[in-house]
Symmetry: C2
Subunit: 296 residues, 2 copies
Amino acid sequence: MNFRDELAERAKMVNKVLDQFLPPANAYPPSIHKAVRYSVFAGGKRLRPILVLAGAEAVRGCAETVMPAACAVELLHTYSLVHDDLPAMDNDDLRRGQPTCHKVFGEAAAILVGDALLTSSFAVLAQLSQKAGVPPERVVRVISELAEAAGTQGLIGGQVADLASEGDTVDQDMLEYIHTRKTGALIRVSVRAGAILSGASEEQLKKLTGYANNLGLAFQIVDDILDVVGDEQVIGKPVGSDQRNHKATYPALFGLDAAKQKAAAAAEMALASLNRFGAEADFLRGLVHFVITRNQ
Amino acid sequence: MNFRDELAERAKMVNKVLDQFLPPANAYPPSIHKAVRYSVFAGGKRLRPILVLAGAEAVRGCAETVMPAACAVELLHTYSLVHDDLPAMDNDDLRRGQPTCHKVFGEAAAILVGDALLTSSFAVLAQLSQKAGVPPERVVRVISELAEAAGTQGLIGGQVADLASEGDTVDQDMLEYIHTRKTGALIRVSVRAGAILSGASEEQLKKLTGYANNLGLAFQIVDDILDVVGDEQVIGKPVGSDQRNHKATYPALFGLDAAKQKAAAAAEMALASLNRFGAEADFLRGLVHFVITRNQ
């Protein structure tokens, strides 16, 4: 199987388990469950859950065992998208080529959908020790790290800084502050979660964290580049929106060519972090190539 | 010390620890931390955290040990207030006698403050095993129960049903559905969390759950009654707002006298649930009296 097929296969597995974790669309009160499902199944590459699975495999853990953590990370990621899209925030009408949650279900529903997704992410994680038999101290550690990554020093802090700097000229420090938190934090905790739950050593975790930091950076730079040169039909949202919204991006700050070089350098660093790992980290290696060559 | 002084003393202890858990107002990015602190320290009786402490004591546990859980529950409660007050939801300008979060800091900030409080609630809980030495399986169980209580079958489900039934005639079933979720779920998990973390037996938990369910009901009925007969200055919000908003309430459905009788009956049931407990449950008993006689 080629790598893209394997990715698609894993995304399908994740979707199947997400479907089992979420209440059915007609569960009372149905309006919220319908909207939750709409947001979770509106597409998406499932990169973060796939990183959880690959993080487990890299330390010879079991992908199936950590699947609830993979789902938890995707639920949390989806919450952040739904809230970021709200009129009071980025006010986006389209996400992954579909109307955003608040466009379809209204603003109150979208706020509650985000709240529900964030909450369920921790509910799902807690099941790891109760149902999947993972030692509870590992589960608590992952909950702690996920909450930190999502908090005001992570995801939320990045969104606050991003909103605050709209329209301003943003320097490299601020750009990195925003991106390491809005994108990097969750990518890092995804890889770490899979590894921690599988009993990784601190030494392994350190290497995997280096990998994740660089992968996250490469991912974000490519995201910025695609907003300039991407194909609207493929990406599923209008290109050029960063520039129109005066958003801080790598191409805006360094130019397109230098941004591409930075992405390639980060990809190299990500691969170098895996030097001491054998074939068990091949999927993580494949993801670097995927992230750097993606067109959506 | 009389009971009200003791309550005030405990609320002060909770506030002190909340202050330690929250990042300082000038921590980067300061706008969010300032708004978080505004919302958390805008008053409030700290009933839920006090229930966590009393739940621990009722099974001869240590209030100090479970203090992080007490704070976690209050952070989660505050998140729900901040989001419920948003223009897209209940659109309230005042809360506990102060302008609501979004009135002071804007809508985007208020959404993010709620998100941050919800997230930090799980971060704080995770510290229980890492810093306070509570067995991790107990911590995971409490995280699971809190996430359930806050989810679409609990707090969020109650808010969805409440919003959906505004302006409609609400029958007793729907009134109970809304209240057991919007108020009851968090009160129940508060008492249970303190007890679970302290190693309560399933038998003890069952009794304490009966206590909490009835206390929650009494609390909610009194809340409804105060909205009709309360003193605006004391409550800190306009009275009569339930009626103006066509909200489902016990006095609206049963009349004021029958509502008072229902509150008294629930209080009796709460006390009866504690029959097998000794002096260690005296604080829980005192809270029943407090809830039924409160004027704010």
